[in-house]
């Protein structure tokens, strides 16, 4: 039985269609990340699951119960807000125990549950403080504790880490991963950060303009992006896109004289967009080689990010620092055949016949 089922969810605000038919079925214990840039409808979808907004049409089922029209408090879901939304006038202990207090759980039991949650999040020493006396990371932990203590069927996270600085964000990310592995609860997590999505999710739904572009496991999103949008949204630096035309033997990249030998199984003479991840490129002459003219080299530490052109088209390659490519150099780049992604330039859909 699915823990959460979304069926043909649509949401209109006046003329604006924010969500255009979302279908998701989530197994118990899954960590689903809704990934997309702002305005793609991911937060609206989360609010619909939470009950803070109602869908214009479609059905939301938690377990086997339809919850459309059910008050948020009766849905057995808990939410962690981007702004934390702690109650500033209450102590940390009361903040965490608020949900239980409102459900008339006896004080002793409540205190025990609060202590357990606080222990899990390592904030036991902060229970008597007010939110104003806490750092950003501590507030975040309190907000998570408030959700945790209720033991809900589904946890909802709305960009919970975006207000933290980079180092803290990484710590909290691992913390969330640890909590999920330990508690095995079902999570729906909204973010625009593809690293968060890749590291946390068991499945990612990449959203754009109110539709799901691809719903799959992180490695599939990364290795076999279904659309051009997914291909460029996930991965940093983003995937290189080159315009090319199919030939019987392979691909003719615009601006390059020698065609690229590649088995593609498509009819010849078809325009395609060729996608190659920067990190899939290496320095060597093999059968699928690209003549590259380097213009800019940036050392990030573990890798050397080289920006340049292939046949006049922009290309970025992440190379080992030892490769020593410097601006002005000419080099031959190669990538394994499975690293070439072909997309239809008009529809943006993936053309590769995946093995």
């Amino acid at each position: 039985m699915s823990a959460l089922t979304l069926e043909r969810i649509a949401k209109n605000y006046g003329e604006v269609e924010t969500l255009k038919g979302i279908d998701i079925a989530l197994e118990s214990g899954e960590f689903l990340v809704l990934l997309g840039s702002s305005g793609c409808g991911k937060s609206t979808l989360l609010n619909i699951i939470a009950g803070l907004a109602e869908p214009t049409s479609g059905d939301v089922r938690i377990g086997d119960r339809s919850v459309v029209g059910v008050h948020p408090k009766d849905r057995d879901v808990a939410m962690v807000f981007q702004s934390y939304a702690l109650y500033p006038n209450l102590t940390v202990a009361r903040n965490i125990g608020f949900g239980l207090e409102m459900r008339h759980v006896p004080a002793a039991e409540r205190e025990k549950a609060v202590r357990e949650a606080a222990a899990l999040l390592q904030i036991e020493n902060l229970l008597d403080r007010k939110p104003a006396q806490l750092s950003g990371g501590q507030r975040q932990r309190v907000a998570i504790g408030r959700a945790l203590v209720r033991r809900p069927k589904i946890f909802l996270f709305d960009e919970p880490l975006s207000n933290l600085d980079a180092k803290l964000r990484m710590e909290m990310r691992s913390e969330l991963k640890r909590l999920h592995q330990m508690l095995k609860t079902t999570v729906v997590y909204v973010t625009h950060d593809q690293i968060e999505a890749m590291t946390l999710a068991t499945r990612i739904a990449v959203m754009r303009n109110g539709v799901i572009e691809q719903l799959d496991r992180p490695e599939a999103i990364y290795n076999r992006p279904a659309t051009l949008y997914v291909a460029t949204f996930v991965g940093a630096p983003p995937m290189n896109l080159l315009s090319a035309t199919t030939t019987p033997e392979g691909l003719s990249i615009a601006g390059l004289e020698t065609p690229l030998a590649l088995r593609h199984g498509l009819e010849a003479g078809r325009p395609v967009t060729l996608g190659i991840r920067p990190e899939a490129l290496g320095l060597a002459a093999r059968e699928t080689a690209l003549a590259f003219h380097a213009e800019l080299a940036e050392l990030t530490g573990p890798e050397l990010v080289v920006t340049g052109t292939v046949g006049g088209q922009k290309l970025v390659a992440s190379l080992p620092p030892a490769s020593g490519v410097s601006p002005g150099d000419r080099a031959t780049l190669f990538a394994a055949p499975e690293a070439f992604h072909l997309f239809d330039p008009a529809t943006g859909l993936r053309l590769n016949r995946d093995r």
Partner: protein, 281 residues
Amino acid sequence: MERQSLARKIALHAAALLLAAVILAPLVWLFVMSISPPADLAAKPLRWWPEAVDFSRYRLLLSTVENSAGAAFLAALRNSLLVAGTATIAAVLLAIPAGWAVSRTPSIGWSLGLIIGTYMLPPVALAVPLYMALAHFGLLNNVFSLALVYLTILAPFTTWLMKSGFDTIPRDIEAAAMMDGAGLFATLRIVTLPLAMPVVATSALFAFLLAWDEFFYALLFTADQRAKTLTVAIADLAGGRVSDYGLIATAGVLAALPPVLVGLFMQRALISGLTNGGVKG
């Protein structure tokens, strides 16, 4: 800015002192007048500080002898407190739910706009209809009917203030409380209202001051000691054939005390920034 030149500092302090002097000078003069013997007030050239300090007018106004100026003044003080207090409490109690509703439901914002619109009408325009209505219901010369009239002035104002106050409280906090299982009233009582306390205090203070200082309606709708408020009583002091400016000044000083006390009392509640820490930053 941490680094300031000496000249800049001196200029800043001088400007602040000048501002304070300009604001305080009339008050100081009011007090000086209230303790000057009548002869000093009529003297030419004007005496800036009285020869002998004279507190007799305070005694006169605070005396409880029947039919004296003191009795009239004290009755007016009591009426003012009753009218301003009742109107303020009612205005705040009305403004909290109304302001919250408008703040959280932008689509009904027009209704507040409409009410604020009535604010633009000069009181003179409403005086006659209000008088006729009050006369019809036999409510003239009554502190509570005057409070009711004041409520029509205060409620739009406090509602508007409360709305802007609620606007600054993130809706996420209320959404969180809702998901935690708090009903509407529990959310308002435990979460929203404590955060809105500074605005509640500000609205109450300003409403009280507005009602305390109101003169026009009070003059029209009250007739004697049963309902006359301080502003009208002070005007009465000036209305006779001989005006004792010292007595008017004394009444002014005494009339200024209650709002000052209310202000001091509310000071703690007025300290804002209570929402700090609930949300990011």
